[in-house]
């Protein structure tokens, strides 16, 4: 019986070690600890072109992350992309004329949404729509425009 008790203790330690490893993976390695934004509020922004934006991309204000992209839908009538943003509940003082733009982190980095606060007195609420948006920069279009204007200038 004595030997069995020590077996049970080591098995208990083993299970604890396994759970500890999972906990370490959850808290230290993955972004689970940043998942406290579930009770945030949702705001929609309509973009002409979202470039490489994806669900879960960050939403920042002055470079500080204040939420993430929850989902992206295509509006069948306007052919624009409706991006639903999930913003942290603690940042509930965004003016209604806040502008949203899609930027790229670095030259080859991932794309994110940058917000710029406006000057209105009223604040954005759950379900509101951001009116002022600027679409993502598509490199081919920029180069095409540049070449086009260059060609026009030559004539």
């Amino acid at each position: 019986m004595r030997q069995k008790k020590s077996t049970e203790v080591t098995v208990g330690l083993f299970v604890l070690l396994g759970m500890g490893a999972l906990f370490f993976l959850a808290m230290k390695v993955s972004n689970l600890s940043a998942f406290n934004d579930e009770q945030g509020y949702r705001v929609t922004a309509e973009f002409e072109n979202i470039g490489g934006l994806k669900a879960r991309s960050p939403v920042t204000l002055a470079g500080v992350r204040i939420g993430r992209v929850e989902r992206i839908e295509l509006d069948p009538e306007t052919y624009n992309a409706n991006v639903v943003l999930n913003l942290y509940a603690s940042f509930d003082t965004l003016p209604t004329d806040t502008a949203a733009s899609i930027y790229t982190a670095g030259l080859l980095g991932e794309q994110y949404i940058g917000l710029e606060a406006g000057a209105e007195e009223e604040f954005l609420k759950d379900g509101d729509v951001i009116e002022l948006t600027q679409p993502a920069l598509v490199l081919e279009q920029v180069i095409g425009q540049f070449l086009f204007s260059k060609a026009e200038g030559d004539e």
């Binding site: 230290k28 972004n31 879960r56």
Partner: protein, 259 residues
């Protein structure tokens, strides 16, 4: 004519074995509720299958992580992206190497032992002896071992990944001077709890199921001679490795195929 006959023999033999394996699995699954009431048997087996494999998993995990750190650094530094070392180490460990390598080690360390144990029990007629005493050997011997393997492997895989990431950190931060904060924050932003870590855990659960099943079946189905047990042990390791790597591809295609 002889070739065709041998082909037919092989096909019939293989189908028979597959069928026996399936029936064997059904018998094990039917025995699970019974062994939950005698959980001390399972704990005893978790000790010999899981706890005794911890040291192997710790050491291999540490070294795999350290090698990943070194190799990843050498590649990433060419692109000036050595800060992404954490992401590379964590994703490759959590998604692939953790579940797969620990399952392969588990098959070699615990699976072969299970096969040899059951095979010897069969060849020394302990299993038939139990049947004579109206004790169901499947419920008394096989099912606790099955549950133990099934429970242990996910824990072992998690330990493997965690230790591996620490090993990668040791090499990256301690030896190569990668920035400490960037290592962890990049890892945290790019590693997802559901998509990466839980899928890795699901993989290791599937591998635990398959490896223990193969090991127990090979032992139970072994020809009861010393040579037969030896062959069965070899087959356990070989078939487990095939099953792990093949299933890993299928699971990866299902989980990450559309990313």
């Amino acid at each position: 004519m002889g070739t065709i006959q041998r082909l037919g023999q092989w096909a019939i033999g293989t189908s028979e074995r597959l069928g026996r394996g399936y029936l064997f699995l059904m018998a094990i699954l039917a025995g699970i509720p019974g062994s939950l009431f005698r959980f001390s048997l399972v704990i005893q087996q978790i000790y010999s299958v899981g706890v005794l494999s911890v040291l192997l998993i710790l050491i291999s995990g540490l070294f795999v992580g350290m090698v990943l750190g070194l190799q990843g650094y050498n590649t990433l530094v060419d692109f000036g992206a050595e800060e992404s070392l954490g992401v590379m180490v964590s994703l490759s460990l959590v998604r692939e190497l953790g579940p797969v390598v620990s399952a392969l080690l588990f098959a070699g360390r615990a699976g072969s032992a299970l096969t040899a144990e059951i095979g010897l029990m069969k060849s020394t007629e302990q299993l038939s002896g139990m049947e004579m005493m109206a004790v169901d050997p499947i419920r008394r011997v096989i099912t606790p071992r099955f549950l133990a393997g099934f429970i242990s492997l996910p824990f072992l895989a998690a330990i493997f990944s965690a230790v591996g990431i620490l090993g990668g950190y040791l090499v990256g931060y301690g030896l190569l001077g990668v920035d400490d904060g960037a290592f962890w924050t990049q890892m945290q932003t790019k590693t997802d709890w559901y998509d990466d870590i839980l899928n890795g855990v699901i993989k290791s659960i599937v591998f635990g199921f398959v490896v223990t099943w193969i090991a127990l079946f090979e032992g139970h189905d072994a020809i009861p001679t010393s040579e037969g047990v030896g062959r069965a042990t070899t087959r356990t390791v070989v078939h487990s490795a095939f099953a792990i790597l093949g299933l890993d591809f299928v699971l990866t295609a299902l989980m990450f195929g559309d990313v």
